[in-house]
Symmetry: C2
Subunit: 526 residues, 2 copies
């Protein structure tokens, strides 16, 4: 106790000296003597918040995509900048996150023209604008401004998003699915993540409420379930069958959860899959819909990669289309479908645009969803505009149509080539088996780690896959995320690698990755 008091008194002394010094230089006149004396009288300085007194749900929440390995990458990048040549590579290659434009993907010109014009409508009437912007971007900007009350792109909108933009999105969904969509079912959000939080807030009452989530999964789901205090009920995708989703596994996990007293409220399905890159077959989706209907589960359909399908034998079908095709309507199944401007060929992550389409909820529940949206007022208007644009791109006959198609197809075809090249390269490596890259933006290869490597990881107090990823980063500058961040069958090891580096970088990535892997195996082979 005496030692503590002494320490506290020394610290207070130092602190007052430091502050007095600073204040003398700047703000002496503001310092009233009554506070100096009260500060001196007080020795209380226990912090208002400590790690032991914050919400334990926050501590429980993990988000590997921006976790430890990325913090290490940022440190290495700073070192490289401060001292070029300090590492055996000259740049950090961020393959940890689906962030295409950070790796050089260019935005779709038409989308950006419209956004710029809506940001500064004062130039729309100027003749110089016609030289700088395509005719259809100018007319689209006018159309959008007409849909916004007072053309005020700086005003809060309706909490679900601007009605005219929701009309456009609903029309886009209708054109995609061949079934009607209602603009009142659309909630525009700052990217898809806040929409997922809204649904978790709605559904989770306590740790007795469970959400069925695929394993591996995108860690937004585990993180938001943890933050909202629910229980993640895992179902394992079958790696041996191309990460297939088996209904028998869903049933088994549901029964297990029930036996533990968990009320399962919803099923998360990510299609195309993140991190697994699988695209669900329609029959499989029908079985999933039937399962949710029979078990009274809300279907949370993460459909943000709906434009990212790379193999001709697969096709994206929205769960709403599948349900409606089965004859199921509003009263049969509660469905929230998430879409985002961050993915697809557009990759506009920084714009934070997205929406959810909610169907099969009663009016009183929808009122509650609306209320939650209204507490944050509305999502950003540029993101809202962009969400309407991706669901309604230029059409045949529009001035931008050809250049738009060329940009879109250039990106999607290149992504398909990159996916295939990386998949083949990974499959050629000792002990690595990589899934078929059907869609989305990732590969999730499995690594058979030698016992010696697993022991070395244990010694380094590190999960074996994290150990591998850290070694890879330190040797090559390539950032990938350990499989443990997504979940995997215990005793198996994976990592997630995006297919997003520009095509001219792919050969170097393949050769650096291959060289590293060979030397890693040489070091640790049993």
């Amino acid at each position: 106790m005496r030692r503590f008091v002494l320490f506290a008194s020394l610290r207070n002394h130092f602190r007052r000296r430091f502050h007095s010094h600073y204040i003398n230089q700047n703000q002496t006149h503001l310092l009233s003597s009554r506070f100096l004396s009260s500060s001196m009288a007080s020795s209380k300085s226990s912090p208002a918040v400590t790690i032991d007194t914050i919400n334990p749900k926050v501590i429980k929440c993990q988000y590997a995509v921006r976790g430890e390995i990325v913090i290490l990458a940022q440190k290495l990048q700073q070192e490289l900048q401060a001292k070029p040549g300090s590492h055996p590579f000259d740049e950090i290659l961020y393959c940890n996150i689906g962030n295409p434009q950070s790796l050089g993907q260019q935005p779709i010109t038409f989308f950006r023209e419209v956004l710029a014009l809506c940001d500064h409508p004062a130039i729309l009437d100027r003749s110089e604008a016609q030289a700088l912007f395509s005719t259809d971007s100018i007319s689209r900007a006018w159309e959008i401004l007409d849909q916004i009350p007072g053309a005020a792109t700086g005003a809060y909108s309706h909490s679900q998003g601007i009605k005219g933009l929701r009309d456009t999105i609903a029309a886009g969904i209708e054109a995609r699915d061949g079934f009607p969509a209602d603009p009142n079912d659309i909630f525009l959000t700052d990217g898809a993540s806040p929409a997922v939080h809204v649904m978790m807030t709605l559904l989770i009452r306590s740790e007795k409420d469970g959400i069925l989530c695929p394993i591996p999964q995108y860690p937004l789901y585990s993180a938001s379930i943890a933050l909202h205090g629910g229980t993640l009920v895992p179902y394992y995708l079958d790696e041996a069958r191309g990460w297939g989703l088996e209904i028998s596994e869903l049933k088994k996990q549901l029964e297990d959860a029930k036996a533990k007293g968990i009320t399962v409220r919803a099923l998360v399905v990510i299609n195309p899959g993140n991190p697994t890159a699988q695209v669900l077959a329609e029959e499989n989706q029908q079985d999933i819909v039937e399962f949710c209907k029979q078990e009274g589960l809300v279907l949370l359909a993460d459909e943000v990669y709906q434009e990212n399908v790379y193999v001709p034998e697969k096709k994206f079908n929205s769960f709403k289309k599948v349900a409606r095709s089965m004859g199921y309507g509003e009263e049969d199944i509660s469905l929230a479908s998430f879409q985002s401007v961050s993915k697809g060929y557009y990759g506009e992550c920084g714009k934070r645009g997205g929406y959810m389409e909610v169907t099969g909820f009663t009016p009183d529940i929808r009122e509650q969803i609306y209320k939650m949206a209204s507490v944050n007022l509305c999502s950003n208007i540029s993101g809202q505009i962009l969400a309407s644009l991706v669901m309604s791109p230029p059409k045949v006959g529009d001035e931008s149509y050809e250049s738009y198609c060329a940009e879109r197809d250039g990106i999607l075809l290149s992504l398909a080539r990159r996916a295939k090249t990386l998949e083949d390269a990974l499959n050629s490596l000792e002990g690595i088996t990589c899934n078929n890259a059907e869609g989305a933006m990732y590969l999730f290869p499995r690594i058979q780690l030698p016992e010696k490597a697993i022991k070395a990881a244990e010694a380094a107090k590190c999960a074996p896959d994290a150990f591998y990823c850290r070694r890879l980063l330190n040797a090559t500058g390539i950032v990938v995320v350990p499989g443990s961040g997504f979940g995997q069958v215990p005793g198996t090891w994976h990592f997630r690698c995006t297919i997003l580096p520009q095509e001219d970088k792919i050969p170097a990535i393949v050769s650096r990755l291959s060289d590293f892997h060979k030397s890693f195996m040489d070091e640790y082979r049993d």
Copy 2:
């Protein structure tokens, strides 16, 4: 039971007919017979979610600013559009929400120029751009693009926001306060609301954790405390003393809460006040800082109206400046200050830009705050850019400086005039007393409602102030929010009215409001 089965079977019959009809026209080929039969076999149709099975915290959460009265206003607006002349007014005047651009306030030209250029950097090099954009907006756009890795405005940024923009904001805070600011203390968010949610998530563990909130308050606080499952510990602002904040009241409420077993974690102060329009005196702020230090409370300082001060005798001081002026540093007080691009003279609500500056938290707590930010990846980049612009507007010598000053001062002086006109008009009405409009964007007049009006409200199953506001809306088209949405001393009645309608509308508002009030009093005077 039999009746239920019959009903369900009839409904299923109808539903299938409807769907079959739709499907026949559109997607017959997709409908596999096995699902028609399974659909027919199943009679289960209890919804996955009912109002009784959702998270009760969601039901508890209320947000009056976009509540019942606004829904009524939207209905009236639709009626007016469908049938002009159907109401005794020809437009709805939204005075319910601080949304300046929805009422015709024009954005600051320089800010919009920079945003447009950052949205479509391809035009920056074009000679036509020089005719359309000011020189300094072009150079500022280049500067900002240089601060963004790869100039990629469509990429996710660092989860705290783009480092270069945080540098600019920190420099702006430093210039404002005369004390250093650290860019690592800045977390950019989609408006201020998500920042408030982050702090509530961090601090609230259960209903045993309390947050001291002013009454009246901006309902974001009550809503987010309810959603996060904490307890709002009210402290009453003293209307008789210009909505003054008395430390004795804080102490009393803190002790009362403690006696009830509540652990009070934080104190919310809104300065300038919403809805009360008061601007705190520096001595008062010093007392508040001292109180938080002594009691170990986090100070949550809502400073989004920092540019909105309308009376020469008052001045905005940030709580950080006040604390530092008192000699208090990082170890003395935990402080989160919220700022937004939605308020001030800029009023860019739809851009959803904002930040919080967090000081006085240990590194392990900051890591947790960072983790929460990372789960949603980042805030929107246009909002981030705008947040940097409002903290670093054009300077003397810049091409835009004079026009920028004219736009800014035009808006602020006009707001001051509107505030005064409305304040005087309200004070001239029988039974209404209105506070001094020192700052922010609102007036919060008190109405002495006659007993007869209170009885009429009871008969209409409505709070008396909500009754008054509904009558006002139905008679005049003016939308204001009942005091009960913000909290008030029991038995007193108020409403919140923004000062934001454009100046040419103010005379009509004053006369409509006065006429309504007189006839209301004539009808109900005791």
